[in-house]
C-alpha cells in the first residue's frame, strides 16, 4: 500500500517540482484548508498533481482509476511524451481520498481519455517548460539550444552538459499551476503517443502478482457474508442462529433493520454460517410482472417526467399526416447486468474513535468508480464525519459501470463497525447476479414517414426508461446497506443525457421529434422518495453506454425498416442523410472492410446468411462508429451465430492503437453477448436469474454470457486524427452492434426482431408466425 501523504506535503517536500491542475471542468468549490494554507491560489480548482521527484520519477496523483480498460497506460503515454520520459518512469497514485485531491466524481462514461488526456498533457508540458528554463539558467544557454531525452536536458542532439530533471530541481520546492497556454509538442514529433505500447498492468495480472480488490488482506481481518432480504421490498422479522454456532470460526450475526450479515474468523466459516443462518422475512409489495414490462414502462402511472430530449425540428405530426408511407414500431430491451466475472468485494476497518494523528476512523478499500462520492455515503452510513473516512481504490474484476463495488464496501463498513475489527466481504455469485444495480429495461416507439421518393420526411422516437443514475453520490441511501438500514435513495432525476444517450440521431431529417419518459423504479411523491422505500421495478443504475445501447438498437433497426420500406439499400439510405466528412469516412471505411459492394457470405449448410449495418456518433458529438455484422441463422433451431463484425472507428487522436483496438473488440463481444443472450429475469419479489448456467443442481433461471464458440471474428479499422482531440472509446461501439445484428437477421431471414435478446425461441416464433 502506498504511504500516506497529506496535501500539505506535496508542497513542503524538498526537491520536487509539482504542477497542480484540475481534471474536473465544472468544479467551482472552495479549497481544502490545508491546500490553502500551503499557499495555493484560491481561484484554482486543483484536483490533481503531477510531481517530479529528485530521482526523475514522475508521480500523478489523480482521482481517476484504472477499470481494466488500459486507461492508465494511455494516460502514462501522454505524460511520457511531453516530458521526454519512458513510461516506466511514471507512476499513478489513484483514487485514495487521503492522497488524491479533489472531488472528482467518477471514472465512467468513456470520458477518461478525452477529459483527462488534454489536461494531463498541459500539466506535463507546464512541468517541462519549467525544467527547460531551469536548464537554460543552469547550463547557460538559451532554451532553443536545448534538447531533452530520457529525463535529461542538454545542449543539442548529443545532450552535451546534460542535467537530469532531479539535478535541475535540486533542493528547490517548485510549485506551479497548469498553464493552459503552454507550448505542447507537435503531434508530428510524437514518439510515445500513438504507439501500441503494452499495458503496464498486465504482466502482474498474468503472473498472479497483481493485487486485485479481491486479494486485499488487512491484519486482523475477519470475513463476512451478507444475507440479503428474500425480496426487494421484504422486511426483516427474525433470525435463528442455532445452526451457525456449530460452524467452527463463527463469530456473530449482525442485524440492523433489514441488513443482515454473518461474521466469522475465516472465509469458509463465513460462507457456511451464512448458509446456516435462518432468517424469516415478510415479503412486501410485489414488483411489476416481468412479462408486462413493455406495457408497464409505458403506463402513465409509472412515469414521473416527460420532456423533449432535444428541441424538435419542423412539424412531425403534419409531416406524418402528409407522408406517402408511414411506419410505426415498438422496441424493447430487458434489464441486463454488468455480470462481472469476479463478484464484488470490499474491505473495511472501522474503529471506535478516530486516529489521533490522521483523524481517520474508517478506512475502506473498494473497487468503486468514485472514491469521494463513496466516502460521503459511507460516512453517512456509519454516522461519522466525511473527513473521518478514507476510501482507497483498488482495481477489482472488470467494471462496466456502477456494479456492486460500492454496495459491498458499505456492507463491509457496517459489519466492521458492528464487530470492531477489519472485515472483508465478497459477494457470492447469487448476490452479484441478484443484487447488483442493473442496466434498465427500456421501451421505444418509433414512427417514420416517407415521401413518394422514399425520402424520410418525419422521424419520431419516444423512449420510456427507468433511471440510469443510482451511484452513491455521497448519500448512504443510494447504497444497498443504507436502504436496508432505513435511508432513502435520492429522488430520481432527469434521464436527459443518461437514459436519452444517443436517442437523437445525427441524420438530417426535415421533421424530427425525440421524447423521453422517465419511469420510476420506486415510489416517489412530490419529487421526493416515499418512505418506506417501495420498489416497483428492480434497482437500476449505470451500465456501459447507459441508454445508448437500447436507443441505438431502436434507431438503427428502425432506420433499416424505413430503408426496406423505401426499397433502398441500407448503406445508401443512411448516406443520404449524412454530410459530416468524418461520418462519411467511417461509413466508407466500414463498407470497404466489410465488402458491402460484394455479395454477402454464402449460407452455411442449412442456414440463412445475412449482413446488416449500423452507424452512430457517440453522444451525437463524439466518436464516429460504423459497424457491419454477418450472421448465420439456423431456421430449424432458431440459433443465431454472429460470424463476423467489422467496425470502423474515429475517436480523434489515437493514444494507443492496440489499447483502442482491444476496447473496440471488447465492446463488440460484450454487445453480441447482450444482444443474443442476456436478460435478467425476476418474479414478484426478486431477481431469479442468479446463476451463469442452469442445470439439475441449479434449476433456476440463468443469466449467461457469450462462450468462446459464439464469439465472432472482429475486424477493426481505426481512423487516426493525430491533430484533433482524443475521445473516449470505452462505450461507443457497444451501441452499434445490436442493430447491426438485428439488421443482418432481417437480411438473412426476412424477420424483424424488435426485442433483445434474440433468443432461439424468438427467432422461431418470428419465422413461424
Amino acid at each position: 500500500m502506498a504511504r500516506t501523504m497529506s496535501r500539505r506535503q506535496f508542497f513542503s517536500r524538498a526537491g520536487t517540482l509539482a504542477v497542480a491542475f484540475s481534471l474536473a471542468p465544472t468544479l467551482a468549490r472552495s479549497f481544502p484548508a490545508d491546500v490553502k494554507a500551503a499557499g495555493a491560489s484560491a481561484d484554482l480548482a486543483i484536483d490533481s498533481w503531477l510531481v517530479i521527484g529528485p530521482d526523475n520519477r514522475v508521480t500523478i496523483y489523480s482521482g481517476k482509476v484504472e477499470l481494466g480498460t488500459g486507461v492508465q497506460t494511455a494516460l502514462t503515454q501522454i505524460v511520457a511524451e511531453e516530458l521526454y520520459l519512458t513510461i516506466d518512469q511514471i507512476s499513478f497514485v489513484q483514487g485514495d481520498t487521503s492522497q488524491t485531491p479533489g472531488d472528482k466524481g467518477y471514472t465512467a462514461g468513456s470520458q477518461t481519455i478525452q477529459s483527462e488526456g488534454p489536461k494531463l498533457r498541459i500539466a506535463a508540458a507546464t512541468a517541462f517548460q519549467a525544467l527547460l528554463k531551469l536548464a537554460s539558467q543552469q547550463i547557460g544557454v538559451s532554451t532553443h539550444a536545448l534538447r531533452a531525452q530520457n529525463g535529461q536536458i542538454g545542449i543539442g542532439h548529443n545532450l552535451n552538459r546534460a542535467r537530469t530533471y532531479g539535478q535541475l530541481i535540486g533542493q528547490q520546492q517548485i510549485q506551479l499551476t497548469s498553464d493552459a497556454t503552454v507550448a505542447v509538442k507537435d503531434p508530428a514529433d510524437y514518439t510515445v503517443v500513438g504507439t501500441p505500447l503494452p499495458r503496464v498492468d498486465l504482466p502482474d495480472k498474468f503472473l498472479a502478482t497483481f493485487t486485485y480488490m479481491q486479494d486485499v488482506k488487512v491484519d486482523g481481518m475477519l470475513h463476512a457474508r451478507v444475507v440479503r432480504p428474500a425480496g426487494r421490498n421484504a422486511t426483516f422479522v427474525s433470525f435463528d442462529e442455532s445452526l451457525c454456532t456449530a460452524v467452527p470460526g463463527f463469530v456473530q450475526v449482525v442485524q440492523q433493520d433489514n441488513f443482515v450479515g454473518v461474521v466469522a474468523n475465516d472465509e469458509w466459516a463465513a460462507i457456511q454460517a451464512a448458509k446456516a443462518l435462518h432468517v424469516t422475512w415478510q415479503q412486501g409489495a410485489p414488483l411489476v410482472a416481468e412479462a408486462d414490462l413493455p406495457q408497464a414502462l409505458r403506463d402513465p402511472a409509472n412515469i414521473y417526467q416527460t420532456n423533449p430530449t432535444q428541441a424538435p425540428v419542423g412539424d412531425v405530426d403534419s409531416a406524418l399526416a402528409g407522408a406517402s408511407v408511414t411506419l410505426e414500431a415498438d422496441y424493447f430491451t430487458p434489464f441486463q447486468m454488468h455480470a462481472s466475472i469476479g463478484p464484488s468485494c470490499g474491505v473495511a476497518d472501522v474503529r471506535g474513535t478516530p486516529d489521533p494523528t490522521t483523524g481517520i476512523q474508517a478506512t475502506v478499500w473498494s473497487g468503486t468508480q468514485g472514491v469521494y462520492p463513496l466516502q460521503g455515503a459511507i460516512a453517512g452510513l456509519l454516522g461519522i464525519s466525511t473527513s473521518a473516512v478514507r476510501v482507497i481504490y483498488v482495481e477489482a474484476a472488470g467494471c462496466y459501470g456502477h456494479n456492486g463495488a460500492d454496495d459491498v464496501a458499505a456492507d463491509a463498513a457496517l459489519l466492521s463497525q458492528a464487530v470492531g475489527k477489519p472485515v472483508r466481504v465478497q459477494w457470492m455469485r447469487q448476490d452479484e447476479h441478484g443484487w447488483e444495480p442493473l442496466g434498465p429495461a427500456m421501451a421505444h416507439t418509433l414512427r417514420g414517414g416517407l415521401d413518394a421518393n422514399g425520402g424520410v420526411v418525419a422521424w419520431d422516437h419516444t423512449v420510456w426508461t427507468p433511471s440510469h443514475s443510482g451511484r452513491p453520490g455521497g448519500k448512504q441511501g443510494n447504497l444497498l446497506a443504507g436502504q436496508e438500514t432505513g435511508a432513502l435513495p435520492n429522488a430520481l432525476g432527469s434521464p436527459i443525457g443518461t437514459g436519452t444517450r444517443n436517442q437523437p440521431v445525427n441524420y438530417a431529417f426535415p421533421n424530427n421529434r425525440v421524447t423521453e419518459n422517465a419511469v420510476a423504479n420506486f415510489a416517489m411523491a412530490s419529487g421526493v422518495t416515499s418512505s418506506p422505500l417501495t420498489y416497483s421495478l428492480p434497482r437500476t443504475s449505470s451500465l456501459r453506454s447507459l441508454g445508448g445501447f437500447s436507443n441505438s438498437f431502436a434507431n438503427e433497426s428502425f432506420m433499416d425498416e424505413l430503408a426496406a420500406k423505401a426499397g433502398a439499400d441500407p448503406f445508401a439510405f443512411r448516406m443520404g442523410y449524412l454530410s459530416d466528412p468524418r461520418a462519411i469516412a467511417v461509413m466508407q471505411a466500414m463498407a470497404n472492410k466489410a465488402g458491402l459492394s460484394h455479395a454477402k457470405p454464402p449460407a452455411q449448410n442449412g442456414m440463412l446468411s445475412g449482413r446488416g449495418i449500423s452507424y452512430l456518433q457517440y453522444e451525437n458529438k463524439l466518436a464516429y462508429v460504423a459497424a457491419a455484422a454477418e450472421v448465420q441463422v439456423n431456421p430449424t433451431t432458431g440459433t443465431v451465430q454472429v460470424t463476423r463484425v467489422v467496425v470502423a472507428h474515429d475517436c480523434g487522436q489515437i493514444i494507443n492503437p492496440d489499447g483502442l483496438m482491444h476496447q473496440i473488440e471488447g465492446n463488440v463481444i460484450q454487445a453480441v453477448s447482450r444482444t443474443l443472450k442476456e436478460q435478467v429475469t425476476f418474479d414478484a419479489n426478486r431477481v431469479t436469474s442468479v446463476v451463469w448456467a442452469s442445470n439439475s443442481f441449479f434449476p433456476g433461471k440463468q443469466y449467461s454470457i457469450l462462450n468462446f464458440t459464439e464469439v465472432p471474428t472482429v475486424e477493426v479499422v481505426l481512423i487516426d486524427q493525430p491533430t484533433l482531440a482524443p475521445w473516449g472509446a470505452g462505450e461507443p461501439t457497444i451501441e452499434v452492434v445490436p442493430s447491426a445484428i438485428g439488421n443482418a437477421i432481417f437480411d438473412a431471414a426476412g424477420i424483424r426482431l424488435r426485442t433483445i435478446p434474440f433468443t432461439p425461441d424468438q427467432v422461431l416464433a418470428a419465422l413461424n408466425p
Partner: protein, 174 residues
C-alpha cells in the same frame, strides 16, 4: 458437525501441511487464505466460470468445488502463482503478455490454467499437434471431449486469449 482434517500437499513444488476445521472446506479457500496464493480466484463457487482453476496431479480441477477431504496426502497442486516469474515467465504467461490477452484479466487464472491442463493433457495423451483455433474455442466453451468445463471472460478478450494459447502451445508441444 464439522470434522477437522490435516493434509500434506505439494503446492507449486513446495511441501505444505495445512489444517482445516471442516474437511469439506474447498481447496480454493485454503490456497488463497492459508497459503496466500492469489492466482486462483472466487468467481461463482459452482464450477461454472473457471476463475478458481488449478491442476491437481496434472488434472484440471475447479478448486471451488474440490473439498479438502477429496485430496490425498502428497497431492500435487499447481496454481498460476507457481508457473513462472517476471524474469522467467511460463510460455503461456509470455504469450498472454505478447497478445495483451486480458483487460481486467480477473479471468487470466482461468484461461492460463485451463490452457495448461488442456495442452499438457493432449501431450501426455500422445497428441503433440498444436491445437487449432476451433479446438481451443471448443475446449474453453466446454464443448471438447476432454472437458465440459466452461471458461468465461466478460471483457471480450476472447480472440486474443485464443491466439495466446495457440502461440504458447507451439512452444509447449515441442
Amino acid at each position: 458437525m464439522a470434522v477437522p482434517l490435516t493434509r500434506t500437499l505439494s503446492v507449486n513444488g513446495t511441501t505444505q501441511t495445512v489444517s482445516v476445521d471442516d474437511n469439506t472446506e474447498q481447496l480454493l479457500y485454503v490456497l488463497r487464505n492459508q497459503l496466500g496464493l492469489n492466482g486462483p480466484k472466487f468467481g461463482c463457487g459452482v464450477a461454472q466460470c473457471g476463475c478458481c482453476t488449478v491442476l491437481v496431479d496434472g488434472v484440471i480441477k475447479r478448486s471451488c468445488v474440490t473439498p479438502m477431504n477429496t485430496l490425498t496426502d502428497g497431492a500435487e497442486i499447481t496454481t498460476l502463482d507457481g508457473l513462472g516469474s517476471a524474469g522467467h515467465p511460463h510460455p503461456l504467461q509470455q504469450a498472454f503478455i505478447d497478445e495483451q490477452a486480458g483487460q481486467c484479466a480477473y479471468c487470466a487464472n482461468s484461461m492460463i490454467m485451463g490452457a495448461l491442463g488442456f495442452i499438457e493433457g493432449r501431450v501426455n495423451a500422445g497428441n503433440s499437434a498444436v491445437p487449432t483455433e476451433d479446438e481451443i474455442k471448443q475446449f474453453l466453451s466446454g464443448e471438447s471431449s476432454a472437458s465440459s468445463y466452461v471458461y468465461l471472460c466478460r471483457c471480450g478478450s476472447h480472440p486474443r486469449i485464443v491466439r495466446a494459447i495457440q502461440h504458447a502451445a507451439e512452444e509447449m508441444v515441442h
